[in-house]
């Protein structure tokens, strides 16, 4: 549903003082409808820039980005593009507009001109999905980071998009908040939402169908998580953290023990090691 064709981007003529080396270098890729794609990379790898190209916040310098066939460089189409591709940002404070939770969730449907009764239904439904119904009358300043981020997600769900991009939405949260957001994403996936998750935490990417690893503005890897996670050394080289259990299995394999190379979940790893030890004991 989102298609990038030979897309390049740099900040050279932006007035902002963002270093010009944050670029996207001739990237072509497609985000399929209904898929769950994680985009990994260290800070400055271009992963957030890539995300901002997806819904026309940034417009490519060359090449083109289309959402359901609509070119993001056509300003008249931006409204339709953005209602299809929603985005949740990093700082939960800077994306909540209204002074109460329910008013904020209603913001997007109001902009879309939805009927008041339908808005109310959508708000109730969205708050239910993110588990914030109980807080609908609260002011955002009374909420924790994870709760605010869930409100922000509800605000996007209420827009009824086809795809939601999470632009490092967990980076500023504590472990509890991070878990809340990830659980919400899992729930959205069950409802068939297309999800693009931008992060630098490897262990958030395990549930994706596909992982794109960015490095210096290029796509370094693009494969299912099991294949990505087996490349422990390369991931470390480009400044990413490998989950501990993945690293342990890698080391054990290096030492000559026979373990599968494509384990991503800690439980799988634990089981495989347990089996290995038991086998050795029997011998």
């Amino acid at each position: 549903m989102i298609k990038l064709e030979n897309v390049s981007f740099d900040y050279s003529d932006a007035e902002d003082l963002i270093p010009a080396d944050k670029v996207i270098n001739n990237i072509s890729l497609e985000i399929e409808k209904g898929s769950f794609v994680a985009i990994l990379g260290h800070n400055g790898s271009g992963k957030s820039t890539l995300a901002k190209l997806f819904n026309g916040i940034l417009i490519p310098k060359s090449g083109r980005v289309t959402v359901d066939g609509m070119d993001t460089s056509d300003e008249d189409l931006l409204f339709d593009i953005r209602r299809r591709v929603g985005m949740v940002f990093q700082n939960p404070d800077n994306q909540i507009v209204a002074t109460t939770v329910e008013e904020d969730v209603a913001f997007a449907p109001e902009n879309l001109g939805v009927e008041p009764s339908e808005i109310r239904r959508r708000v109730a439904e969205a708050l239910e999905t993110v588990g914030m119904t109980r807080f609908r009358q609260h002011s955002p300043s009374q909420l924790s980071g994870g709760q605010k981020q869930r409100v922000a997600i509800a605000g996007i769900i209420a827009m009824k998009p086809e795809c939601i991009i999470f632009d490092e939405s967990t980076a500023m949260l504590d472990p509890q908040g991070r878990k809340e957001v990830l659980d919400t994403i899992t729930k959205l996936r069950q409802d068939g939402m297309t999800v693009v998750l931008i992060t630098h935490y490897m262990n958030e990417a395990v549930y994706a169908d596909r992982v794109i690893v960015m490095n210096d503005g290029n796509v370094e890897m693009d494969a299912p998580p099991r294949q990505i996670f087996s490349k422990v050394e390369r991931l470390k080289e480009i400044g990413l953290d490998v989950p501990q259990v993945t690293e342990l299995i890698f080391k054990l394999r290096e030492a000559g023990y026979s373990l599968p190379h494509d384990l991503v979940f800690p439980e799988e790893g634990a089981e495989a090691i347990e089996k290995l030890i038991l086998e050795h004991k029997q011998r």
Binding site: F79, F89, N91, N111, G155
Partner: protein, 274 residues
């Protein structure tokens, strides 16, 4: 700490006052304020006092909170009362005439009436508007009351949006200011030494980061709003429609009647008037 400051604080609830249309409440407050200012004798002031007590009961807000709202204006109240008490001159025998202090009965009367006037004004408007109307409903009410001005190209919606965002970010920015002050204190910044120039300069380490942060927030918020399809007033609907209901009409009639009552009481003969 800074965040303890409350600005026109709203206490959520479900009383009839809470449920009234904000437009009606704004209009009612205008009637109320006018009534407070035209009240001039013991009957009308007693009526004011009584209505404020009634409003408190109806609002379901604890009288303690209501009394607390008086605290910030207490100094003004006392000051006004004292001025009236000692400086009102009249052609009558003073009650007290000691050294340079003279107090006339008229002074006492005026002082008491002024106290009632200020207190009922503060408590009444708080109860009708700020305590029982969420800031967003208030902004909404103002936007819609002023919407006829849109025809002559007054950006009413934009102002209302600005108000909403300001209300939303006041607590965030206050908290941030607290944090920056603490952080600079940890670096040995002093804020209360030296002359005026030095003091002003001492605030730069707070103001600059605060402004930069506010601009960054504004920038991010603008992008987030665009991502949620915001394009101003164009084609925008509202979740909470403001529909006049029976109770709103009743409230409006009551507000008018209220002022009428004050005018009526003002005409009653009494020596206790100003």
């Amino acid at each position: 700490m800074l965040k303890d400051i409350t600005l026109g604080q709203y206490f959520s609830g479900n009383s009839i006052l809470h449920r009234l249309d904000p437009r009606i409440k704004i209009i009612a407050v205008l009637f109320f304020a006018v009534s407070v200012f035209i009240a001039k004798n013991v009957y009308s002031f007693a009526f004011l006092l009584l209505s404020v007590i009634l409003l408190t009961l109806v609002s379901g807000i604890s009288y303690k909170i209501v009394l607390k709202s008086i605290k910030p204006v207490l100094v003004i109240v006392i000051f006004t009362a004292v001025i009236n008490l000692f400086f009102t001159k009249a052609d009558e025998t003073p009650l007290i005439d000691w050294l340079f202090i003279t107090v006339y009965p008229r002074g006492i009367k005026t002082a008491v009436f002024m106290i009632v006037r200020i207190l009922t004004l503060i408590v009444g408007t708080s109860l009708i508007l700020t305590y029982t109307t969420s800031p967003i409903a208030l902004t909404d009410g103002i936007e819609r009351l002023l919407s006829p001005l849109k025809k002559i190209k007054v950006p009413v919606h934009e102002f209302a949006m600005m108000m909403t965002i300001a209300l939303r970010f006041i607590p965030t920015l206050l908290e941030e200011t607290d944090k920056i002050i603490s952080a600079q204190k940890a670096r040995g910044a002093g804020f209360d030494e030296g002359g005026l120039m030095k003091k002003a300069k001492a605030f730069l380490p707070i103001l600059i980061p605060l402004f930069i942060s506010a601009f960054r927030r504004a920038d991010e918020l603008a992008v987030a709003m665009e991502c949620r399809c915001y394009r101003g007033d164009e084609g925008r609907t509202r979740m909470k429609e403001l529909k006049m209901q029976g109770r709103d009409v009743t409230a409006l009639i009551l507000a008018v009647l209220f002022t009428a009552c004050i005018i009526f009481f003002n005409t009653l003969p009494t020596t206790l008037s100003i």
